[in-house]
Amino acid sequence: MKRKLEISEFIFKIISYTILTIFSLACLYPFIYAISAAMSARQAVDYAQIVLFPKGVQFEAFARMFNNNMFWNSYSNTLFLTFYGTIWEMILSILGAYALSKKRLLFRKQFNFFLVFTMWFAAGIVPQYLNYLATQRIFRKVGIYDDKWLVVIAMGMAAMNIILLRNAFEGVPSEIEEAAIVDGATEFQVLTKVYVPMCKSTVATVALFFGISRWNGYYWARQMISDTNEHPLQVFIRLLLEQYSDPDQMTGWAENYASDSVIYALIVCSIVPILIIYPFIQKYFAKGTNEGGVKE
């Protein structure tokens, strides 16, 4: 009896290790392949001869990217959108979530419903497009001609993230708030000096979610930013891919690197910042997701 138990556990353990190893490697492989393909010679990329390591190393695809003004332009645009977008969203959601977390807020249920309803029912992309066009007209009238501000202010804001923050704030014991108020803290100081530090991991997680979605934003940036010099990186990657997958563009290519290598190089450049910050925040966000998790 005892022995049979051990066998079933042992088999399950073996299966777990095998499947997890395979799946983890599958998650990693496309990125390794992209790095190798960006650095390989034309022949190897065109005929998919690379398995893991680069063949016939060249750095001209990267050099071509780095010498391209559009690349640096789109990179700085993405940094702009990510920086201001995340700050804008974080300020609004921390303030809103703090107010929603208070039991003494009147019409709290209605305000919560106001948020949650947007998760049930979204208007869809065509009405949203018309709405953004109207916003754009108003912005033009006010004198904001840079469409990046439209993307920063009007887009983003996920109700889910605000609910995560609200749940985390609700978990802070009210005695601590009372103690701070007795010590003479104002409402705003209670928020910045007590609540935000106490829910550090959830705040970091939500900032990460907002930041990542800003960095990765594509569709509305492409639709709403009319000036191609203002396009973010994701739009640049996509436009390049559309251009290169056109067979007419590919014939007559006389470089010693493949056209695909340029796109691979661009993809690698776009994921490097995420790969750099990822290990540092990774430990926070599993904790943050569960801490603020869905309660209601």
């Binding site: 079933s8 556990e9 299966i15 777990s16 290790y17 997890l20 799946f23 983890s24 990693l28 990125f31 392949y33 065109d46 005929y47 998919a48 959601s93 809103g96 208070k102 003494r104 009147l106 106001f114 947007t118 998760m119 049930w120 029912f121 979204a122 208007a123 869809g124 992309i125 065509v126 009405p127 497009y129 709405n131 109207a134 202010i153 804001m157 109700a159 605000i162 409402e187 705003f188 928020l191 990542i212 960095w215 990765n216 594509y218 569709y219 994701q234 990657i237 996509r238 891919l241 997958s245 590919m250 014939t251 695909d260 691979y264 776009s270 995420i274 990774q282 599993a286 998790g293 869905v294």
Partner: protein, 352 residues
């Protein structure tokens, strides 16, 4: 006597005099009711800082989440480039009739898109939903903390990549072959394994409608399974070790432990996640489909939002496109409410 006392909840029966008299608490209730708005005003004035904090968020949601819903009115109006939606002429249900029972190719396209939306989400529920649960069960088996962290870091990673990066890699890895270049490396591997023929790989997997759904689901699992496992894994590690020990003493094998210890403990988490999934059944990400599909694969790939995007944003038929999205979203909302109600009745677990 009892039914006399029930005559009205603000009256009390006085046995001595045999008459009714006013409940003294009712005067307090009346007072509160009379001064309700004054009370509200005082509460708001006392905590005005809280309401000021709330205002910016409410405004953003109002302008860019609720005003688009108002634009949905356009699905009942004759589209006009110049006039705002309120001033457009009323067109009744003509767009809806055209989409639902039009009998022409447009109506057929809409129904195709609706079916594809449903099928893509349904397969996502069938294959994509269990994947993170299974992954979490496997994570639980890894006793070494370092190994588990490595697995987790690697499997969470794809979630942080943008849809553009993911779809670009997919496009390049299953690329079609031409005179001057070969097919993508994944197609090549599939041909080597004998799963697809050389000609099929050479034509490019994304150009053939029969592969679209599989590619969509596989990339979905690749992207989301690791990240989705976080919440299930948290539920699993919360199970007390004594539960396993008790099961072992009772002679439960690994499968029996899964069945009688782990599964009941994470059931409420599974139900909540299932409700969110069913709620999202008709709101699948348009970005991914838009980036992966092309005119060759409309048969299996075109969903309602891409249909609306083609007619409303690329084309000029805004009313028709709004109508198609309205149909899709209303059905989607009914699904959320339905799933939530069923879950609440069946297991006392509900999301909202």
């Amino acid at each position: 006597m009892a039914d006399k006392a029930k005559a009205a909840d603000f009256l009390l029966y006085d046995e001595e005099t045999g008459t009714y008299r006013m409940d003294p608490e009712q005067a307090v209730r009346d007072d509160v009711e009379k001064h309700y708005w004054k009370h509200v005003g005082l509460m708001v004035a006392k905590d005005w800082r809280l309401y000021v904090m709330l205002i910016p968020m409410i405004l953003v949601f109002l302008f860019w989440r609720y005003f688009p819903m108002y634009e949905l009115l356009g699905s009942f109006k004759v589209a006009d480039e110049v006039k705002p939606v309120a001033e457009q002429y009323f067109a009744g249900f003509s767009y809806f009739r055209r989409l639902l029972v039009g009998g022409d190719s447009l109506s057929a396209d809409f129904w195709r898109a609706f079916r594809n939306t449903f099928l893509l989400s349904f397969y996502g529920l069938l294959f994509g939903f269990p994947a993170p649960i299974i992954l979490a069960l496997f994570f639980n088996e890894i006793r070494s903390n370092m190994m588990r962290s490595i697995y987790q870091v690697l499997t969470y990673l794809p979630k942080f990549m943008s849809t553009v990066v993911m779809t670009s890699l997919t496009t390049l890895l299953v690329r079609q072959g031409s005179i001057i270049s070969g097919m993508g490396v994944i197609s090549k591997a599939l041909v080597a394994l004998g799963l697809i023929s050389h000609d099929v790989g050479q034509a490019g997997l994304l150009n053939q409608p029969q592969f679209f759904r599989a590619i969509y689901q596989i990339t979905g699992i690749w992207e989301g399974a690791g990240y989705g496992s976080i919440v299930f894994f948290a539920a699993i590690i919360a199970i007390s070790p004594t539960s396993y020990e008790a099961a072992q003493i009772d002679g439960a094998g690994k499968m029996a432990q899964m069945r009688y210890v782990v599964l009941p403990s994470i059931l409420s988490t599974i139900v909540i996640m299932l409700i969110t999934h069913i709620g999202g059944l008709l709101s699948i990400g348009y970005e991914k489909v838009l980036l992966l599909y092309n005119s060759n694969t409309y048969i299996t790939a075109d969903v309602v939002s891409t249909f609306a995007q083609r007619y409303g944003i690329l084309g000029a038929n805004k009313g028709l496109a709004s109508a198609s999205e309205m149909l899709n979203n209303v059905v989607g909302m009914l699904l959320v409410i339905g799933a939530n109600t069923i879950a609440r009745k069946a297991s006392n677990t509900s999301l909202y």
